[in-house]
């Protein structure tokens, strides 16, 4: 099973270059090749997910070339990482499958490299290793944003490039300082030595890492590039970007934070940052005319929510963040794919005219995506929202919960404006690429089925028992069941 961990990273890395070369003549070959590779990747990650969930202590450590962890670089997959892995590969495959046939081999190569970087980031246990994969991720996403080479994409990519490079420099400085202090690069070992660091050192490293990962994760002051990059990129890329790339950056940062910076001050800072990100992006998102930009703001908002959820030390917070992540990935992926293709077909991204050519499947997809994004009861988004509020109140941050309310309502309004316009349009509905329809139907199906799986898995009662729950803590049970008591 360890070999699968390595394979999941290496396969797309090599395939990226192979598919680029294969696609030099005609790009059909590269598309098929890429599809096959991503499909195998998805199957591998599902196997890993199954294995980790079934195994006793829920973790695998893959070691390279025989060197044991303190010295060698290792891949470390626990239950949270495996979920990220599974959904990352799912979204990668889905967005590629829904991509138009007209995309060149450059596109397919870059997508494969992006997937490789993502898998590497999720699994790596060595901090410099994280830096390298992080760099690959940034570089590939710069390239993907600039794919169309038009004025808008170039401008977005330039801004993204400059901010990204500064961030990576900050990150390297941080890693250098950590290495200077601890002498080792393995996450677990650094975590053991972290408590002895002095207050000032901790603050400096925290600041550097926050900027390093924050730019890519889209935390408030640093996410200015996000609102230009996502609309400029082709819709599969923007689906990937807002679906998984920023989430993985956030996950990495929070993984490091929970290992090295355990004292409550840092989680308070992050909570505050999360709230501000959510508030600002919802407020500005409310006035957007451009549809894809509107979705970008909603992604930044959800990132704020996830940041708040993950920064809470309790398990419920962790579980809320996880649910919000899965829900956002599925809903935003679906929304970006359908809205992006619709605006490409009708040629205009304004909210009133983008849905001229909305087909029935587009309408269903946008409705399902919109409702689950907003957390309409049966969806996981709802469970995530409830858990988030309960986690916030249990951790004593009642004021934060109260501040959330107006902005969540704002988001409900502008997303429903988008959904309302699509449903109201009487488009002719011709379908450009069949793959996209399949992806939309599959995602809608997952959105509908997943809540049942999650709730069934956590309550373990045969039927939905409505008269109160015999298990004392319905939600806590859900959290502990899924996490199997992992320390992250």
């Amino acid at each position: 099973m360890e070999k699968f961990l390595v394979l999941v990273f290496v396969l797309p890395l090599i395939a990226g270059f192979v598919s680029y070369i294969a696609g030099l003549k005609g790009n059909h070959l590269s598309k098929i090749f890429t599809a096959i590779v991503l499909l195998t990747n998805l199957v591998l990650s599902y196997k890993i997910f199954k294995y980790v969930m079934a195994s006793a202590d829920n973790r695998i450590i893959a070691v390279f070339s025989g060197w044991m962890p303190p010295l060698g670089i290792n891949f470390y997959a626990d239950s949270i990482a495996v979920i990220f892995l599974l959904f990352a590969n799912l979204l990668a495959f889905a967005s590629l499958f829904s991509a138009k046939l007209s995309y060149s081999n450059r596109f397919h190569g870059l997508i494969l490299l992006l997937t490789a970087a993502l898998n590497g980031l999720i699994l790596s246990g060595d901090i410099f290793n994280i830096f390298v994969f992080f760099e690959i991720l940034c570089l590939v996403s710069f390239a993907l944003v600039a794919y169309y080479r038009k004025a808008e994409s170039i401008e977005a990519s330039v801004k993204y490039f400059v901010l990204g490079s500064i961030a990576s420099a900050m990150l390297l400085i941080g890693i250098a300082l950590i290495y200077a202090k601890t002498g080792t690069l393995n996450l677990a070992q650094i975590a053991d030595m972290a408590p002895q660091w002095s207050g000032l050192f901790k603050a400096v490293v925290f600041g550097l890492l926050l900027v390093g990962f924050g730019v890519e994760a889209g935390i408030f002051p640093m996410n200015a590039w996000l609102f230009d990059a996502h609309p400029a990129a082709p819709y599969p890329v923007s689906a990937l970007l807002s679906g998984i790339v920023i989430e993985v950056a956030l996950y990495l940062f929070l993984r490091i934070k929970s290992l090295f910076f355990v004292d409550p001050l840092f989680s308070l800072v992050l909570l505050l940052l999360g709230l501000v990100t959510f508030a600002v992006s919802e407020l500005v998102g409310f006035y957007q005319r451009d549809v894809k930009r509107l979705l970008a703001y909603s992604s930044a908002g959800q990132i704020g929510l996830m940041l708040m959820a993950f920064s809470l030390p309790t398990k419920i917070g962790m579980f809320a963040g996880l649910l919000l992540f899965i829900n956002h990935l599925l809903a935003k992926g679906l929304l970006f794919i359908s809205v992006g293709s619709m605006s490409d077909r009708s040629g205009d991204r304004d909210i009133d005219r983008f849905s001229e050519s909305a087909s029935f499947v587009d309408k269903v997809a946008v409705l399902a995506g919109g409702l689950s994004l907003l957390g309409v009861p049966p969806s996981i988004g709802f469970m995530g929202k409830v858990l988030l509020f309960i986690a916030l109140v249990k951790a004593g941050f009642l004021a934060f919960a109260l501040c959330l309310i107006p902005f969540v309502v704002l988001e409900a309004l502008y997303v429903m404006r988008l959904v309302g316009r699509t449903l109201a349009s009487s488009g002719d509905g011709r379908i450009e690429c069949p793959g996209q329809v399949v992806v939309q139907w599959v995602f809608t199906f997952i959105i509908i089925v997943l809540p049942i799986i999650v709730s069934r898995m956590s309550i373990q009662t045969d039927k939905l028992n409505l008269n109160g729950f015999n298990k004392q803590d319905y939600l806590y049970g859900m959290a502990s069941q899924l996490l199997k008591g992992d320390r992250l």
Binding site: F128, V132, E135, L139, F142, A143, A146, R149, K150, A151, E152, I154, E155, A156, S157, V158, K159, F161, V162, S165, I166, S168, A169, L172, I173, I175, A176, Y179, A180, L185, F227, D228, A232, V284, Y287, Q288
Partner: protein, 118 residues
């Protein structure tokens, strides 16, 4: 000895950052990014440097027998190698961006890029 290396690297990092923010021309910004990169690499190297020791080339004459006490810390050396390669990759991509920017905007002046806002 190490201290002046640290000072130099901090100076270089500061210069790089200042260059990025003050320059209007994109190519100048690229140059200052690479200055920043080199500053960081210098910092990384200087962490591993021990006064009076040799470079960690294991097959060289002096270290043939045993390199235990005589060599500087090899790990940062490796890190810097990859960091430099990455810096190169970034620079290459930046230049291609500059070319395309010139094509689309007829100028590489970053302050011209004002169309996407709000």
């Amino acid at each position: 000895m190490n201290l002046d290396f640290y000072a130099l690297s901090i100076f270089l990092i500061g210069a790089g950052l200042a260059g990025i923010f003050l320059n209007r021309d994109f190519v100048k910004i690229l140059v200052s990014i690479s200055v920043l990169e080199s500053g960081v690499n210098l910092l990384l190297i200087s962490i591993g440097y021990v006064q009076g020791r040799l470079a960690p080339i294991l097959f060289s004459q002096e270290l043939k027998a045993s390199a235990v006490g005589k060599v500087v810390d090899p790990v940062p050396q490796a890190l810097v190698l990859t960091a430099i390669v990455i810096g190169l990759g970034l620079l290459a991509f930046g230049l291609s961006l500059a070319i395309w920017m010139a094509k689309n905007f007829e100028t590489t002046d970053v302050s011209e890029l004002k169309r996407l806002r709000g």
